[in-house]
Amino acid sequence: MAPKLPPHHPLEQSTSAVAGGQASAHHSPPRGIMRWLLTTNHKEIGSLYLIFSLVMFFIGGIFALVVRAELFQPGLQLVQPEFFNQMTTMHGLIMVFGAVMPAFTGLANWMIPLQVGAPDMALPRLNNFSFWLLPVAFALLLSTMLMPGGGPNFGWTFYAPLSTTYAPPSTTFFILSLHIAGISSILGAINIVATILNMRAPGMRLMDMPLFVWTWLITAFLLIAVMPVLAGVITMMLMDINFGTSFFNAAGGGDPVLFQHLFWFFGHPEVYIMILPAFGIVSAIIPTFARKRLFGYASMVYATASIAVLSFLVWAHHMFVVGLPLVAELFFMYTTMLIAVPTGVKVFNWITTLFRGSITFEPPMLFALAFVVLFTIGGFSGLMLAIAPADFQYHDTYFVVAHFHYVLVPGAVFAIMAGVYYWLPKWTGHYPNVKLSQWHFWLSVIGVNLTFFPMHFSGLAGMPRRIPDYALQFADFNLVSSLGALLFGASQLVFVAVVILCVRGGEKAPAKAWEGAEDLEWSVPSPAPLHTFDTPPNFRPHEH
C-alpha cells in the first residue's frame, strides 16, 4: 500500500502554529497499518484516496469486461441474464461512486492545500474519517453480490419500483452502502470548501486561485446541494421496502415518476461533479505545455459556475419518454442545449491557449489533448440526445451508452490520468517513464475509441442498453467494442506499471518539474515533504 507516498520527515520542518493537527504525528509517528488508519496528513489521505480509486477502477473494469465478454457474440454464452444485470449495475455504481469521485477527491486532497499555500486541509481528522468510510461502503456494496438473491440488478440509476417492489433482498444493504459513500463525499466537500475559503495564502484572492481549485470549489457546492437529495431518495426507498410507506408505490398513492424526478435532480449535477474537476486539471496542464498563460481565466470561472447553475435545471432530459407534457419537454430541451454555451467557451479557451503556443507533448499533455478532442465528441452526442423528439429514438439505446462513456472515460478518467502524470513528479520526486507512458496513452486512446465509437452506430440502429443478448445485425459492432474493451482494460496494467516504477525510481524531478508550470505547488521540493507551507508562502499574483 505504501509505495506512492512521500518519505516521512516528521521533524524536518518547524512545527509552528498552523500544523497543530499533526502534533501527535510529530511526537510519535505510528508505524505500519496504524499510520494509515490514523493519518490526518492531506498528502497521505490523498494517496489513500487515489490508491482506493485505482483498486475500484480495476474492480469496476473487470465487471465491465464480463459485460463485454457476454456481448462479444449474440446469444447467451458466459453468464445468466440475472448476473449480467448485476454486472452492469455494479460496474456503473463502482465507477461513479468508487472510482471517479474518490479519484477527484484524492487529487483535491493532495493538490488543493499545495495550490492555495495551506499547510493541510481545514479539517484533517474529518478528512481521515471521510476516507475510511469509503472502504466500508464498497466492501458492503460488493458483499451484496454474495447474498441470497444476488446484488443490485436494477441499473446504477435504481429506478423504483424495480429497486423497491421487485428488488433482491440485498437492496437494503445497497442503500446503506450508498448512504455511507454519500456521507463520505459530503464530508470531503465540506472540508474542501472550508480549506479553499479560509486557508488561502495571504494575498491570494478567489480570482487568483488555480482553476483546479476553482472547479473543485464549485464541485463541492454541487456535492453539498445534491448528495442530501440522493440520501433522501434512498431513504424513501428504504422506507418503501421496509416500513410500508408508498413514496414510489402507485398502489398506495405514490408515484414511480417521482423517483425519476428526484433521482435525476441529484443525478444530473452528479455528472457535472464528475467532470468539473477534470476541466480544472486540463486547464492547468494545457497552459503548462503550451507555455502560454491560460486564455480567458475569468470566463473559465464563470463558465464553470454557469454549468453548475444550469445543471439544476436540466434533470428531466433523462426522462423525455416518461410522458412529460410538451411544455416541459421544450423547457428541458432548451436548458440542456444552453449548457453547450459555457462548455463551448471552455473548449474555445483551451484551443485558444494552444494557438501559437510552443507546445510539447509530454504524457500529461497527451492525455489533456485527447481529453479536449474526445470529451467534445461526447458533448456533441449529448447535444443530439438533448433534442427531445430525437431522444425518443435514442432513449435507452447504446447511443446513450456511447455518449456518457465518451464524457466519462476519455473525459473524466483521461483527465484524472493526465493529472496523475502531471503531478507524479511532485508526489514521488521522479518523472514517469516516458516510453511506457506513451504506450499507455496510445493503447488507451485506441482502446477507448474502438470500444465506444461503434456503440454510436449500434445505438442508432436500435440496440437497447442493459440487455445480455442482441439481434444478429449488431454482431460486428459488438465484436469490435468487446475487443476494444479488452485492449483498454489491459492497457491500464501499463498505467499501474508506470506508477509503481515512478514511485520506485526514475529520472529525478526538480521542484519545478515542468518548464511552463507556474502554480504554487511547484515552489515546494519534489517529492513534496510531508509538511509543506507551515508558514504561509509569499504569494505573488500574476495577471490572468
Binding site: L123, M199, P325
Partner: protein, 199 residues
C-alpha cells in the same frame, strides 16, 4: 468529527463558520428532498400533469353540450399480481360530446377463496386532459371489499368539460387494481385525498 476538526482550528473562526453554513445547507437540502414529495403532488394536482386526477367526487356542471364535437373515451382495466380479482368494463369505449355526462359500469369479481380489499387506481392519458375530466361518481374514490367469489358492479359517472383542448380527440382512462392491506388503508386514504376543486 466536525467538532474534532474545529477544535484544531480555534485560530481560524472562518472554518467554523463555513462548516456551520455548509451543514445547514446539507440539512436544508435533505429536508427539501422530502418536501418535494408533497410539492410534487400539489404541482401535479394544480397543473393536471402526470395523469393524476381528483380522487373525490365533483359536482356536475350544467353547461351547454357542445354538439359539434365528439370525443372518444376509452377504458382500460388492469389486474394486479397481488390481487386475484378480475375487473371488466361493460364497454371498451364510448363517444361523448364535451359537456355531456355519461355513465359506464365496471364489474369486479373476486376469484379467490377468501375475501380481500382492493382499490382501482386511475390514470388519464393524455395527461393534459385530466383537468377537464370531472368524475361525479367513481368506484375509484373508495376501497372495495369483496367476499370470496363475490361479484360487484359499480358505476363511473363522468363529464368532459367543454374547455377540453381542441387537439384532444381521445381520452384514455386506465384503472389498475391494487391490493389493500388493512394496515395500509388509513395511510392510503390520506395519500390519495384531494379536494374536489371547481374550475
Amino acid at each position: 468529527m466536525t467538532q474534532g476538526g474545529q477544535s484544531q482550528h480555534k485560530a481560524n473562526p472562518g472554518v467554523r463558520r463555513t462548516v456551520v453554513r455548509t451543514v445547514a445547507a446539507l440539512v436544508g437540502m435533505f429536508a427539501f428532498a422530502f418536501a418535494l414529495v408533497p410539492l410534487y403532488d400539489v404541482f401535479c394536482q394544480v397543473t393536471g400533469l402526470n395523469g393524476k386526477v381528483n380522487n373525490s367526487a365533483q359536482s356536475i356542471i350544467h353547461e351547454e353540450v357542445d354538439e359539434s364535437r365528439m370525443v372518444t373515451v376509452q377504458f382500460i382495466t388492469r389486474g394486479s399480481s397481488g390481487l386475484p380479482w378480475r375487473m371488466d368494463v361493460e364497454t371498451r369505449q364510448v363517444r361523448v360530446h364535451p359537456g355531456q355526462s355519461a355513465e359506464v359500469n365496471f364489474a369486479f369479481h373476486n376469484q379467490s377463496v377468501e375475501g380481500n380489499w382492493g382499490r382501482a387506481v386511475p390514470s388519464v392519458s393524455p395527461s393534459n386532459a385530466s383537468r377537464h375530466l370531472r368524475k361525479i361518481n367513481c368506484f375509484c374514490f373508495d376501497e372495495q371489499h369483496l367476499e370470496a367469489g363475490e361479484r360487484l358492479e359499480l358505476p363511473l359517472v363522468f363529464q368532459l368539460a367543454r374547455d377540453l383542448p381542441d387537439d384532444i380527440n381521445t381520452v384514455t382512462l386506465v384503472y389498475t387494481l391494487y391490493p389493500v392491506t388493512r394496515d395500509e388503508a388509513p395511510l392510503q386514504a390520506r395519500a390519495t385525498t384531494g379536494n374536489g376543486e371547481e374550475t
